[in-house]
């Protein structure tokens, strides 16, 4: 028996089932080492600058790190305070969701619709119009022009026009008035939102194989809507996915624009988002541990939202 098996061993081919998963992986890595070597630089950079900070942040969220002194572990205290004893956080969560719920889908739709229309234009004009639509999001601080338009000075454009028309007599403090801050910020956010998602949609539209339309016509597609739903959209599902993720992260992570327009913190926390709350604790109060806890919560929320969107998108074309 023992002699038999000893003789059989060398002959037997190594099979996946006979190795531990780890061993198998190592073996595969060895076999494909060229590919791994090629991807290594990216992985390294990605790990150091993206994954590691996320991990560090999660770890820090269990400490009382104050930016300059050695942190101490405080367990889940930060989370307890955050959920049970922080009124402003609730305001921030509310604002963030309002923001995300309006800006996320709206910007996604606007991106998609404008990409669809632009796709119908002749190539040269298309390039130009694309640039025009895309420019608000590439020209960094261009949204600051809204600050001039809605300046609280009686010489701000909006105030000047309204005063001149006799609608108001005193300048409105647009960005210092809790009633106006949120709507204005949403408008500006939409204006700047034709970004990466929009570009990827345009790429997606152009990547659709034209023979598919012909095949679709043969299969009985009657109008452009059906064409869009049954042919175009399923073909460009990866771009839709990418666009969605971009829109969501953008709308949840919206903060800098609001700060630039409405100041920090916005009056009565009217446009205070989770990002601002994070900033408040991180840079004003120098409580990095607590800020990390906020960041972790935001991370979880974004991740959840992405999972949800993935589910929705799988329904496209069915």
């Amino acid at each position: 028996m023992s002699a038999n098996s000893a003789a059989a061993k060398p002959k037997k081919a190594v099979s996946r089932h006979e190795m531990s998963k780890f061993k198998w992986t190592l073996k595969e890595i060895k076999r494909n080492r060229a590919a791994y070597a090629m991807i290594a630089p990216f992985v390294l950079i990605f790990f150091i600058f993206t994954v590691l900070p996320v991990i560090v942040s999660i770890v820090l969220s269990f400490t009382d790190f104050n930016m300059l002194q050695t942190p101490h572990i405080v367990g889940v205290d930060n989370y307890i305070t955050l959920f049970l004893d922080d009124d402003v956080f609730l305001i921030a969560v509310k604002n963030t969701f309002i923001f995300a719920a309006i800006v996320g889908p709206a910007s996604y739709l606007i991106s998609f619709i404008s990409a669809w229309f632009i796709n119908e234009l002749p190539p040269k004009i298309r390039a130009l119009v694309t640039l025009i639509f895309y420019s608000p999001s590439i020209s960094g601080g261009a949204y600051l022009m809204w600050k001039i338009v809605f300046s609280g000075d009686s010489y701000g454009y909006a105030n000047a026009i309204l005063i001149d028309l006799g609608i108001i007599s005193m300048p409105i403090q647009w960005f210092e008035n809790a009633d106006y801050v949120m709507p204005l910020c949403i408008v500006v956010a939409l204006w700047t939102s034709l970004g990466t998602a929009f570009l990827s949609f345009i790429a997606g539209f152009q990547g659709v194989d034209h023979s598919l339309y012909e095949a679709g016509a043969v299969d009985g597609i009657k109008n452009r809507w059906q064409e869009l739903w049954y042919v175009t959209l399923p073909t460009m599902r990866p771009q839709l996915m990418f666009g969605a993720i971009m829109s969501i992260t953008q709308s949840f992570g919206f903060g800098a624009v609001v700060t630039a327009l409405a100041g920090f913190p916005s009056v009565d926390y009217a446009a205070h988002t989770i990002m601002h709350h994070l900033d408040d604790y991180g840079s004003t109060r120098w409580e990095v541990g607590y800020a990390s806890a906020i960041a972790t919560v935001l991370f979880v929320i974004m991740y959840g939202a992405n999972a949800l969107v993935k589910k929705f998108l799988s329904k496209v074309g069915s």
Partner: protein
């Protein structure tokens, strides 16, 4: 749309402003006691004085009124020490001294202090016009010119006599062999400048340069009283020489005279080369050698190293500024004068210089030598006109041996242009005011106002102005040979004037345009007065010699640029200016984020003043931000400048070293007002610790427009009640007030009412106290009842006169106005804040300070004694004052540094009056301790303020709503850092009983 509204809101005010805005006003009457004008009577007299000053006749009118009078028959000199009349009622100055054989001048002279008026009695031998030459000794003092107002028999004879400016003499501190110092890599270091007090003479000219010949006073035979009223700087007065002025001869006549005297042209290959960057003296501290890299043949030049090779540019552009050179001539004779220059600023215009040889303008043409615009370097002999071949360059006579050559900024033919444009401006202003009286500030463009019947003269004036401006524009185009953007401004005004005079309907429609164009034209006049010119070298050479090359060709330039680009990769710019190898072990590092120019100045100061006595190296790094991160990582600086709030944030986290126990601390802090130290001091573990030395300190002051207030008959308010009384007057004239809102406003009132921001040593806020609540109510009431704007552009509204009173941070607004609004120069000033008057009549007008501190960060743990030594040096009066003065000299008047050092602040080039006001507020300041959690107060006070402002909520309730939140946050923070705290519950609001 916006423009329309802008103009409408301005109302008729600007017109008044513009009439006087075109004068080169510098400062008003100084009545001697600046800090203590408490009586109303005094103020009224000041208002009257301002009015009188504003209405003095111009020199042209003065001459016109005396057109039948002749030049005096002969000259006479008065030794002023003998003429000094201390008993005259006009003599108010304290500290006048009679000196004998002073600084090498035989006989008696008289020292005039920087404040007050001094009268002199002189005896005039004969009637006639006299020009005046002043012999004076410029005392070593601040870095500004001497300035006096000249009174003749108790009155200012004409407006130009208000600004008698005498320059000081500045020399470059070059090495003994005349070369510039170099750093270890060979870069030339800009030499420091020092004042060289010398006996000098000055012929009284119009300091704005508009009148080309010396100002001449008409004196009758007999005794007269001449008084000099101090504006800036002390000096010692020798004599007044009164002489009849004669214009220099024309070149033709002068040349004929020289030929008659037997002067010959210089023959052969003679070139007397003078490098322009090495003058023997200049009139201002700001005129210093520059490094020109725009041309590879500027002399000397290097592709990599910094070579100081030119002088002037925009540092040398105001009428009266001069640069003096010495030229050694082997042979006496007639030379051509060739210059290499660049004038690339005044497009379509020219820059003018007056040339003195050995103290005299040799001939009439040298009185106004013109340098036309070009973006390249030029080489030309004086006397040749651009574009014409057959011009013979002028010849200049030089003595054998040493000759003194001086180039002075003058306006030349530009003065005629400017005078004519000024006249048009006055006409346009008048017409504007007249039209305004008929239509009001917002004219109805559909109404028939019948202007032709009501104001025919003014309409005609506008027409004349249009044709006059056309003529000026043609003249300028003809002189310079092209039509630059600058001339186009005139044409635009002409188009508007022609449209307005073409039909009556157009007048009302374009009224607001007219107002803004009057402003444009005023700015134009100011800009045209600047006469920048950059010089590389000049040579006196034999007639007919070939001119040197003006600029390098394409390939040479390309090679130069390319080399310097390549070499830039190998240059360590951080060691720029270091004059020796530094010991790296004990280096003290200091980080600054103030900008390249400021850090260069500091570097230079360190090298020249600190390093010679230091046994460790100092590393100065220009870094923006990152102090926090690098400190956390342990690679941070030893010293950094931090805002007080940040500083205390570092301090409670053990990242800043306390300096209370450092050697000499008690002495060092005497340099600063105690209010500047308060925000940098905190009680930690039962011990008061100071964590930084104050670097800058700013506070609120009251800026006001003297011209507008005097026009409205309003006095400068001393208390808030007085201020409130004048608000209706302002608002009736469509004006308003600039007032700090939110937390800044609250701080202002709270501390003036004697309140405090915190109670119980910072354990809780004091906002629920009665005094805080009434301060807040007072503030919100002001904003609610008078509707002061929350957001406004202070400098702009102050300039247009829409906000004739603004309470603002003194240094930033002052600096901004100096450059931004030259047309209202001298029409405004800042004064201490109004305050609350208590029952005893004492006024509390303290201001709350904002401080930045220089802190020793925890990186300095190992070498904290060295770092402290440096810090002591850096915050000392001498260093701070050199630094601040250098800054003004190099970056300009708009970069006054708000140093917290008392002595250094006094040394800045303020006028005596400004200084008086500044000092009196400086000493009445309070600081607020930065307790942990302080940021929360700003936030919630803002919320409460906006709630009242927007919703008309009750101020008391709005503020009280947030008090508990604030106290909770403070307690939370105090717990975090182990301070003692009080538990806050919602039921307890710490409300005081109202008596």
């Amino acid at each position: 749309m916006r423009k329309d509204l802008f103009r409408r809101l301005l109302s008729g005010l600007l017109a008044f402003v513009m009439i006087f805005g075109t004068f080169s006003v510098t400062v008003f009457a100084d009545d001697g006691d600046t800090a203590s004008q408490t009586t109303g009577v005094k103020e009224v007299s000041k208002l009257d004085e301002i009015k009188e000053l504003l209405n003095t006749a111009s020199y042209a009118d003065y001459r016109a009124g005396l057109s039948d009078k002749k030049n005096a028959p002969g000259e006479f000199t008065v030794n002023m020490a003998d003429a000094y009349a201390p008993d005259d009622p006009d003599s108010t100055a304290k500290g006048v001294e009679i000196k004998t054989n002073y600084e090498g001048r035989d006989g008696k002279s008289v020292y005039l202090p920087e404040e007050g008026r001094v009268a002199f009695k002189i005896n005039v031998p004969a009637d006639g016009f006299y020009a005046l030459e002043i012999e004076y000794y410029s005392e070593k003092a601040k870095a500004t010119s001497i300035e006096r107002m000249l009174y003749l028999d108790g009155a200012i004879p004409f407006s130009e006599a208000r600004y008698v400016k005498m320059t000081k003499t500045w020399i470059d501190n070059v090495q003994e062999d005349g070369t510039f110092k170099v750093d270890i890599t060979g870069n030339e270091i800009r030499p420091t400048k020092s004042q060289q007090p010398v006996w000098n003479t000055y012929t009284v000219y119009d300091s704005s340069g508009l009148v080309l010949e010396p100002l001449q006073f008409y004196l009758t035979k007999g005794e007269h009283v001449i008084a000099l009223d101090a504006v800036r700087e002390p000096f010692t007065l020798g004599s007044f020489r009164f002489f009849p002025y004669e214009a220099p001869k024309s070149y033709e006549d002068q040349l004929a005279e020289w030929r008659n005297n037997g002067y010959r042209n210089i023959e052969g290959d003679v070139r007397l080369y003078t490098a322009a960057e090495k003058p023997v003296a200049t009139s201002d501290q700001t005129i210093y050698p520059l490094n020109d890299r725009s041309s590879p043949i500027s002399e000397p030049q290097d592709a990599n190293l910094v070579k100081l090779n030119t002088i002037g540019s925009d540092k040398w552009e105001n009428a009266g500024q001069w640069i003096k050179y010495e030229v050694q001539a082997e042979k006496a004779g007639l030379y051509e004068l060739v210059l290499r220059y660049k004038q690339d600023t005044l497009e379509g215009m020219y820059s003018t210089r007056r040339i003195y040889i050995n103290g005299k303008v040799p001939f009439e043409e040298a009185d106004h030598v013109e340098f036309t615009y070009s973006d390249k370097w030029n080489v030309s002999a004086i006397g040749t006109k651009v574009g014409s071949e057959d011009n013979k360059p002028y010849l200049f006579y030089l003595n054998e041996g040493k000759n003194e050559v001086t180039f002075e900024v003058a306006l030349g033919t530009m003065s005629e242009v400017l005078t004519r444009v000024n006249e048009c401006l006055t006409k346009m202003n008048n017409s504007y005011l007249k039209i305004l009286m008929i239509t009001g500030s917002t004219p109805d463009s559909y109404r028939d106002y019948q202007f032709d019947r009501l104001i025919p003269q003014e309409i005609r004036d506008l027409k004349t102005a249009a044709s006059e401006l056309t003529a000026v524009s043609d003249l300028l185009t003809r002189i310079t040979g092209n039509k630059g953007a600058h001339v186009a401004t005139l044409d635009k005004v002409v188009v508007l004037l022609e449209r307005m005079t073409s039909s009556e309907d157009e007048i009302a429609k374009n009224l607001t345009n007219l107002k803004s164009y009057i402003g444009t034209l005023g700015t134009w006049v100011l800009e045209s007065r600047a006469q920048p010119l950059e010089l590389d070298y000049f040579t006196f050479q034999a007639q007919g010699l070939e001119l040197p090359e003006a600029d390098a060709g394409f390939f040479k330039s390309f090679a130069f640029e390319f080399r310097s680009f390549l070499l830039s990769f190998f240059t360590d710019y951080s060691t720029l200016g270091a004059t020796r190898e530094l010991d790296t072990d004990k280096t003290v590092s200091i980080w600054t984020s103030t900008g390249r120019e400021k850090s260069n100045i500091l570097r230079q100061l360190i090298d020249t003043e600190f390093m010679p006595t230091s046994d460790f190296a100092v590393e100065l790094k220009l870094v923006s931000g990152g102090v926090l991160q690098s400190t956390l990582a342990g690679i941070g600086p030893d010293i950094s400048s931090l805002a007080s709030q940040d500083c205390m944030n570092y301090a409670i986290r053990d990242a800043v070293l306390p300096i209370t126990d450092m050697e000499g601390f008690d002495e060092v802090i005497k340099r600063f007002p105690s209010s500047a130290l308060t925000p940098l001091t905190l009680e930690i573990n039962g011990k008061e610790e100071t964590f930084a030395l104050p670097n800058t300190m700013t506070f609120l002051m009251m800026f006001y427009r003297m011209d507008i207030l005097s026009q409205l008959g309003v006095e400068v308010p001393k208390t808030w009640d007085e201020l409130k009384r004048i608000i209706p007057t302002l608002q009736n004239n469509n004006m308003t007030l600039g007032f700090p809102s939110k937390l800044n406003g609250l701080k202002l009132f709270l501390y003036q009412m004697g309140g405090e921001m915190y109670a119980e040593n910072g354990k809780r806020s004091n906002l629920s106290s009665n005094v805080a609540l009434s301060a807040f109510t007072e503030l919100t009431d002001l904003f609610q009842s008078y509707r002061f704007p929350l957001t406004y552009d202070a400098a702009n509204r102050f300039r247009t006169g829409e906000m004739p009173i603004i309470i603002a941070d003194y240094i930033s607004l002052y600096n901004q106005l100096t450059v931004f609004a030259p047309e209202i120069e001298g029409m405004w000033e800042f004064s201490p804040l109004p305050g609350f008057e208590d029952s005893n009549g004492n006024i509390n007008n303290c201001a709350v300070v904002t401080v930045t501190g220089l802190a020793l960060l925890r990186g300095a743990m190992d070498n904290k004694d060295d770092a402290w030594t440096f810090l002591k040096w850096y915050t000392s009066g001498e260093t701070q004052s050199s630094y601040s003065n250098e800054l003004v000299a190099i970056v300009g008047q708009s970069s006054k540094n708000a140093t917290a050092n008392r002595d250094a602040l006094m040394q800045l080039p303020w006028t005596a009056r400004e200084l008086g006001n500044l000092t009196s507020q400086f000493e009445k300041t309070v600081g607020i301790t930065e307790y942990p959690g302080g940021y929360i107060i700003a936030r919630y006070v803002d919320f409460a303020f906006m709630n009242v402002y927007k919703n008309n909520a009750s101020p008391v309730e709005s503020l009280l709503d947030y008090v508990t939140e604030i106290n909770k946050e403070i307690t939370r923070k105090r717990k975090e850092f182990g301070f003692d705290y009080i538990e806050i519950s919602y039921s307890e609001q710490f409300i005081e009983e109202v008596d």
